[in-house]
């Protein structure tokens, strides 16, 4: 599943090192357009709904944080 997340990220912007980077938002490596694409892809791939409340840097600064958010939202939907 994490692989699927990394694949989505690579598709959106292959220039970033998603395994190492932990300031994707703070350092401007993911802009608002990429973020909107990412939200849409994550919703489709993992069957979750991401709301504006979830759209905070802490949830998108690293692949690990994103994965944590995905799992949390999947749990909440159950």
């Amino acid at each position: 599943m994490m692989d699927q997340l990394l694949e989505i990220l690579e598709d959106i912007n292959p220039d970033n090192d998603y395994m190492a980077e932990d300031k994707l938002i703070d350092n401007g490596l993911l802009d608002s357009l990429s973020l909107l694409t990412l939200v849409s892809e994550l919703e489709d791939a993992f069957g979750i709904e991401i709301t504006p409340t979830d759209l905070i840097p802490a949830n998108f600064n690293s692949a690990a944080a994103m994965w944590e958010m995905v799992q949390r939202l999947q749990e909440a939907d159950k």
């Binding site: 598709d11 401007g28 802009d31 608002s32 357009l33 909107l36 694409t37 939200v39 849409s40 919703e43 489709d44 991401i50 709301t51 504006p52 409340t53 759209l55 905070i56």
Partner: protein, 526 residues
């Protein structure tokens, strides 16, 4: 009493600092609150009522939202919990909109009622209708655009449970009225600044020296540079019909530089003052003229306003169901680049229209907002095309040449925007732009006419050297070097010589007294 006045710097601030230090830690925030209200009352007199209303309203709305969440907890585990949850969500949405409407409603009423009624009256008279909308005599309190944004962000954050509702009205009042930032921001978030405001941290040598340095740097930008350019800017923009070509262009460039030095200088003073009390306020500028695109410019200029619009308008709108569904359809039809761009059209339009309206009353402000909407949307849309073109031409987008061209292009875009921003009206803005081209004459550079614009050769020289210093500091900051920390590590004698020299420079080269009229902080009127 402005931030750059002697009364503020030599009387108000030192007295507040002295009393602050004398008080026990737990009472210090109360002194900051009292000082903030005295400061605001001296500036706004009876208009303080708007600040009181805004604060009282956000406090009540916050508590109401909190009560809803608490009441819902009583149903946890009950059979109808999900029904209650939905009812609570609906009720909370209603309370949220009520709170936001009350805050924004007052702002719009004060700033836009007469503009709207005036324009409607023009329309009615063109339709030969005798009905007219009234115009009201309204006074707008200083800083309302800033504290309203803070109030809205607090209400939304409590609604989203990002921050708990503060039960203490007076503590909230301090967050809203903190005197260094009440006039021009930066626009703070409750979750980031409130804690430090109430902490009552004692004054330390480090905080006082570092804060003072920032204040002196702000004074330099405001008093030496911005205020010195003011007479030229006011002359060109008020008598724009008498000028054209290079003179108007010079006026627009000088206004852009003046606005930057004025606003960022006042923000330096604000951040420096807060720093002395151990309060860290968010940065509002990050070398904006180094920007290469319009989006980047707004991530470097008035950062807290851009972040506010992004967090409270752009993302919430982008993630509404119908816009997300539109985005998905657009992605399927137009691909992975154009699709998301289409998804952002409505949110971006809302952001930039709000940005224009927030800045002031007039069609030129609305045009200013829409100008950046078109620029950013076009930039996003053309991005892949530009990438392909540069690849085809073997031009590296990381090369110094390309970056320099982009920076110069962006500077021209900024100057054009600011010209409309400052112009007396939209028509005046267009007339000025037209006159730059129709009356362009290089002889203005040599016939001495530029020296008849209220600025002497000495003034031009001080301004040129001063902005070179600002540029040099910007380059150093861009490299991630903290000048104040560097200076702080120098030997005592050298360090204090530097401090005294900086203060002396402001005193010697400051544009005050004599023929210089005092200039109020430019953004305080927005």
């Amino acid at each position: 009493m402005q931030y750059n006045s002697l009364l503020y710097l030599l009387v108000f601030l030192p007295v507040v600092m002295l009393l602050y230090q004398l008080l026990p830690q737990k009472h210090r925030w109360k002194l900051l609150l009292a000082a903030s209200y005295v400061f605001f009352f001296l500036l706004s007199r009876k208009l303080i009522i708007y600040l009181l209303f805004s604060t009282g309203c956000m406090h009540y709305i916050g508590l109401w939202l909190n009560t809803c969440d608490r009441d819902l907890e009583d149903f946890r585990g009950a059979e109808d919990f999900h029904t209650q949850k939905e009812l609570t969500a609906r009720k909370k949405r209603g309370i949220l909109w009520l709170g936001v409407a009350a805050q924004i409603g007052v702002l719009l009423l004060l700033k836009y009622f007469n503009f709207v009624s005036g324009n409607l009256n023009i329309l009615l008279s063109k339709m030969s209708l005798s009905f007219t909308f009234p115009t009201l005599k309204l006074s707008v309190p200083i800083g309302i655009s800033f504290f309203t944004m803070q109030a809205v962000s607090y209400i939304v954050d409590v609604y989203k449970k990002k921050t708990p509702a503060d039960r203490n009205l007076w503590r909230l009042a301090l967050y809203m009225a903190f005197f260094p930032s009440i006039m021009e921001g930066p626009i703070c978030r409750y979750s980031e600044t409130a804690e430090a405001l109430y902490a009552g941290e004692r004054l330390t040598y480090h905080n006082i020296t570092f804060g003072s340095q920032r204040i002196v740097w702000g004074l330099f930008k405001k008093v030496v540079l911005a205020d010195r350019l003011s007479p030229l800017v006011e002359l060109v923009f008020s008598k724009y019909t008498q000028y054209g070509g290079i003179t108007v262009l010079l006026g627009a460039i000088c206004y852009t530089l003046q606005l930057y030095a004025d606003f960022s200088g006042c923000i330096d003073m604000t951040i420096g003052t807060a720093e002395m009390f151990g309060v860290r306020l968010p940065e509002n500028f990050r070398q904006p003229f180094f920007s290469r695109t319009a989006s980047e410019f707004w991530r470097r200029w008035h950062i807290t306003l851009g972040a506010w619009f992004k967090d409270y308008i752009f993302y919430p709108l982008s993630l509404t169901k119908w816009i997300k569904s539109m985005g998905k359809k657009a992605r399927l039809k137009f691909g992975r680049h154009v699709g998301p761009v289409i998804q952002t059209i409505v949110p971006l339009l809302a952001v930039w229209l709000s940005n224009g309206i927030w800045h002031g009353t007039g069609w030129n402000y609305i045009f200013f907002g829409l100008y950046y909407f078109v620029l950013i949307l076009t930039g996003n849309l053309l991005e892949p095309l530009i990438g392909k073109s540069t690849d085809l031409l073997h031009v590296s987008r990381k090369s110094i040449g390309w970056r320099a061209i982009q920076t110069v292009k962006m500077f021209c875009i900024i100057v054009t925007g600011e010209l409309f921003f400052k112009a007396a009206s939209l028509a005046a803005g267009f007339a000025m732009i037209k006159s730059i081209f129709t009356a362009f004459d290089l002889s203005a550079l040599s016939n001495g006419s530029l020296l008849n614009l209220n600025l002497s050769v000495k003034d031009f020289l001080v301004v040129a050297v001063g902005y070179l210093v600002v540029l040099a500091v910007g380059i150093v900051h861009e490299k991630g070097i903290h000048i104040r920390q560097q200076v702080g590590s120098w030997p005592l004698a050298l360090r204090w010589s530097f401090y005294y020299a900086a203060v002396l420079l402001v005193f010697i080269f400051g544009a005050y007294g004599g023929s210089y009229a005092p200039v109020d902080p430019l953004y305080a009127s927005f």
